[in-house]
Symmetry: C2
């Protein structure tokens, strides 16, 4: 079995139903593959890009996971997003010509590199791809609005419950178990993302376990009572990202 530099093929990609190819014909997917030839592997803790790096590409996650964060003027950071396979990183860099924040791999991860000028050119010719790009931008905005809702109004336990429900449903959509998964990020990243402290997150996870909502074992989580958890989160129907 020979191992060339691994060929990227959207048609065979396990996340194609969640990624740019959505809604594209086979022919158009072939043209998209011309743009997505380059693939990159990032190891845990390494960054895909840093704040200030020039913008030239978007990155589509094939496997693994990332955290994105922005850095404030006074140096403190805010985790803005946990990204799973099928999601696009770097969209917020277009307008300024450079990345306003960084993306760090939470585990060994693999991404498709999408040179934006090429993608742009192709989108100009393929309306379905154009629509898909708009859709992803818009979806991202909607998600951030929901994140704002979370940070603005909800109590600590509600926030953490919402994150667990959200991650659970995102894994579920990708064909993994909705009830058993690994939180690949540290407690402190979760805390930062939710606007809390690591101690509070830790305490709440313990409490949720005592209340038999979940079972926690290090970074492995089992959802025991998804209904109660959703109610706590304030999102009665488990919505998807």
């Amino acid at each position: 079995m020979k191992k060339t530099s691994p060929a990227v093929s959207c048609s065979n990609c396990s996340v194609r139903r969640l990624c740019l190819p959505v809604g594209l014909s086979d022919g158009d997917i072939e043209r998209l593959e011309q743009v997505t030839r380059k693939k990159k592997v990032v190891r845990a803790g390494e960054t895909l890009f840093r704040a200030g790096d020039p913008f030239d590409s978007l990155y589509a996650i094939r496997s693994g996971s990332f955290k994105s964060a922005v850095i404030g003027a006074d140096g403190d950071t805010q985790v803005t997003h946990f990204a799973l396979p099928g999601e696009l990183l770097g969209l917020d860099a277009y307008s300024g010509g450079m990345h306003p924040g960084y993306a760090e791999a939470l585990e060994e991860s693999s991404v498709c590199v999408l040179p934006f000028t090429q993608l742009e050119g192709l989108a100009q010719q393929v309306p379905a791809l154009q629509k898909q790009i708009y859709s992803i931008f818009s979806e991202e905005l909607k998600q951030e609005n929901e994140a704002l809702l979370l940070l603005g109004k909800r109590s600590a336990d509600s926030r953490l419950a919402a994150l667990l429900v959200n991650i659970s449903s995102r894994y579920s959509r990708r064909g993994y178990s909705a009830s058993d998964f690994v939180l690949s990020m540290q407690r402190i990243d979760i805390a930062n993302y939710l606007g809390l402290t690591a101690e509070t997150v830790s305490r709440l996870l313990s409490r949720f376990q005592k209340q038999e909502l979940i079972r926690v074992q290090g970074r492995s989580v089992t959802i025991l009572d998804p209904i109660a958890l959703s109610e706590l989160a304030g999102t009665h129907c488990s919505y998807e990202s």
Copy 2:
């Protein structure tokens, strides 16, 4: 040359340097004007669109101001944005085909109605417009990231200071005074936006006044010490102890 129902002309619009026409040639602006023919006036307290309304148009603010808000599953709302002239409303509706939140005029306001399918079609032919649309999407994402930073990490006074500085600079960019302006929204909207209560906002405004950072008279604000205010907001470069 008779004045019918007020003609919309991007070339003459006072906010054209901040709006979609940025970077477009005169010829392209003419084509854009074909799309922006419709204008709409919204009175204070009226909504431009509500959560759940079908998405068909974007709205470009010509004058006035709006608040956008999303409504959580349990009914409580989060103000996500205060929008000023030159800004686009409705971008987050594309992916779902409907508006996830509502936009309410804070004062008598006027907007251009941009039917999205037409805009999309034109963008397909005019790369500069395409770029401008991407840019606006991306800019919006970047701003929301900054909002997340604000809500996630900062203390109440820092948040309020940041809002004041932000609004001041946005007015300034539009050619108005950076130091004297009117907060067209209620205290409770500010509070909601910042993840605080109206009481806290009120107290802080009083305190800022006592500290001679600002002068408040109802909804009119005068910035007395922009430097100190920026420092409070954490938007200057300083290292924390």
